[in-house]
Point group: C2
DNA sequence: CTGTTAGCGCGTTCAA
DNA sequence: TTGAACGCGCTAACAG
């Protein structure tokens, strides 16, 4: 049974437990002969130090707590994967807490009080487990300042942020700028945008990138081409109809997520407008389905893996007492598919 | 700082550490007055017992290790969610290990030696962490007997299995039987099937359910209607063409996953065959995209959440020394969408 | 430089 | 209700 302790090794190798410990950790010189004998015995008995005991003494667990708002939301698994990727290299482990917010409270992210309790409990448990630090993965980008208190334990946020802690977020402004830039390169100038919910951070930033691009490329500006959606397919459908039936229809639409892009496609189909020949579409998120619908959607891929990786990296720096340089934000990458065409003209 | 120990509480409440421990755990009667005083102090100082110390003494960590072959594969997050759901209720925690197999070795699941090392290391780490047990989540259903040795620690497999351990799997045979049953209810009798890779367990079982249904409903049997795919869209496309161009084309096709179903749709489109009016399609997996393609795909939803939940439940039973009754397998559920039509005739 | 002894970290639990 | 041993590994202090 797995009740082999350092004592058993010491006894069998005819040394003290201290020596065994030194051999395992390389904390001190041990004569070659003794070392080899001890290593031999460890191998034979397949001994693994009890982590609970180590942690107790070392006052660090090499484990970080990851709080995911909901692992089933599309962006989360890839972020976890990034955290894992980095954690593996640092020999850190992950204690995963899944708040299951999507299942428990749906999309009511603004009703903080509905889930504060869940978050507080999670932090409390993790604190009890003596994690060295924490990473919080939001299901939706927003300000979480004051949601809970980690009692001094370092925490890094990703896919959301607070005003006091380190957070890793991708560059929304650059993303929409690049999308517009791509469209202009394809000859488009009459470009409309369908935003997500206006009160959301990414919507505002992406709108910022859009304006910036309009200015930079000296595109015609038409306030009618700016529509406020709500992330849902229905809004994409409805607003695309408005756009396409207007006296000055755009030749390209940037939808702030793929779900709305699908709505746009439905609207176009109903109106007998061919995609991409008569209308180009760019989405956001690179959701799985964007590759399977027809035509497949050209979309901005979110650097989720990188965000997870950087979050872990940042946390590790904090744990080592280093300063975290808030380097460049991870950037989105355009995935070219079949929903954008060169403008004939 | 978080260096508050049981001693601090004991001192401040003027009792021994033993009493504090009894209060916390309710292990023994403590006079009301003392109890309340102690509770008060714990509250005030916001004390949380050090889990490392508890585990060391109790010889159980209330933590299980979850080994996921790849958290970014579509079925895995929902299974983790199910595990979490159950673990929450049992007050257990999850130490997540992500093998990242999809990233590291791709789909070469048959090349066991390519990933044995990763799996062994994961188990070894988890063993060192003193997890009470483990759950292994496969990315693809298959026999994993002999992949590694848990040294007596209980393990439950889900979405894959071994010949020696408890495993939780959904009922493949029932699923395809139900799909065929649904099609016959809609008036179809000329039903074709496109399987996944033949050497895979689910392919075989679903084929079994198909034959069973053919017999039960006395459908015409035509070996030409049974095609062997490989799970990829291209095979769905190619085999659907064969089926639809044959002298006796089916009126309905059951594809063993949604990806191949999309291939079937592409083939139909190319041949000018309307879906669902001239051809009905059922997929498998209820992938995200199946809802967004048009027409949306009627598909068998996998009971992933339930599998995770049951895996955790089974593990917990084993940990309590109870016998695990291998109850009924979780069943798939048909999601009715727009790719199946009642047969006019 | 190599090896040993002994106390510690923190909570649990038995004997008193 | 309490004192003290204990679980397991680490490490300071000490001895050879």
């Amino acid at each position: 049974m797995s009740t082999i302790s350092i004592k058993d090794i010491a006894a069998k190798a005819q040394v003290s437990t201290a020596t065994v410990s030194y051999v395992i950790n390389g904390t001190r010189n041990v004569s070659r002969k003794t070392r080899e004998r001890v290593e031999q015995v460890i191998e034979e008995m397949n001994y693994k130090p009890n982590n609970a005991a180590q942690s107790l003494k070392r006052r660090r667990t090499n484990t970080i707590g990851v709080i995911a708002e909901d692992v089933t939301v599309f962006n989360v698994p890839e972020i976890i994967d990034g955290i894992n990727d980095c954690a593996d290299r640092l020999d850190m482990h992950i204690l995963l807490t899944n708040l299951r917010l999507d299942k428990r409270i749906g999309r009511q992210f603004d009703q903080v009080d509905a889930y504060r309790k869940y978050a507080e409990d999670a932090v409390s448990e993790l604190l009890g487990k003596q994690v060295d630090g924490m990473i919080y993965i939001g299901a939706h980008p927003r300000d979480l300042t004051g949601l809970f208190d980690t009692e001094g334990k370092p925490i890094v946020y990703t896919y959301c942020y607070t005003q006091n802690d380190v957070s890793i977020q991708y560059d929304d402004e650059q993303a929409s700028f690049e999308a517009i830039s791509y469209l202009t390169n394809k000859g488009h100038s009459r470009i409309a945008i369908i935003s997500g919910a206006v009160d959301s951070m990414p919507s505002r930033l992406r709108l910022g990138g859009f304006y910036k691009a309009i200015t930079a490329f000296e595109l015609p500006f038409n306030p009618q081409w700016i529509k406020m959606g709500d992330w849902e397919a229905e809004s994409g459908y409805r607003l695309a109809k408005e756009l396409l039936e207007s006296p000055e229809p755009p030749t390209a639409i940037l939808a702030m997520n793929d779900v709305m892009a699908v709505g746009v496609m439905r609207a176009a189909k109903e109106l007998g407008i061919q995609i991409p020949d008569q209308l180009s579409i760019i989405g956001f998120d690179n959701r799985e389905f964007s590759e399977y619908v027809s035509p497949s959607i050209t979309t901005m891929d979110l650097p989720l893996h990188e965000m997870g990786y950087k979050a872990m990296e940042a946390l590790s720096h904090i744990l080592q007492g280093e300063q975290v340089e808030t380097g460049e934000k991870p950037v989105c990458k355009l995935i070219e598919r079949d929903s954008v065409a060169e403008l004939a003209n």
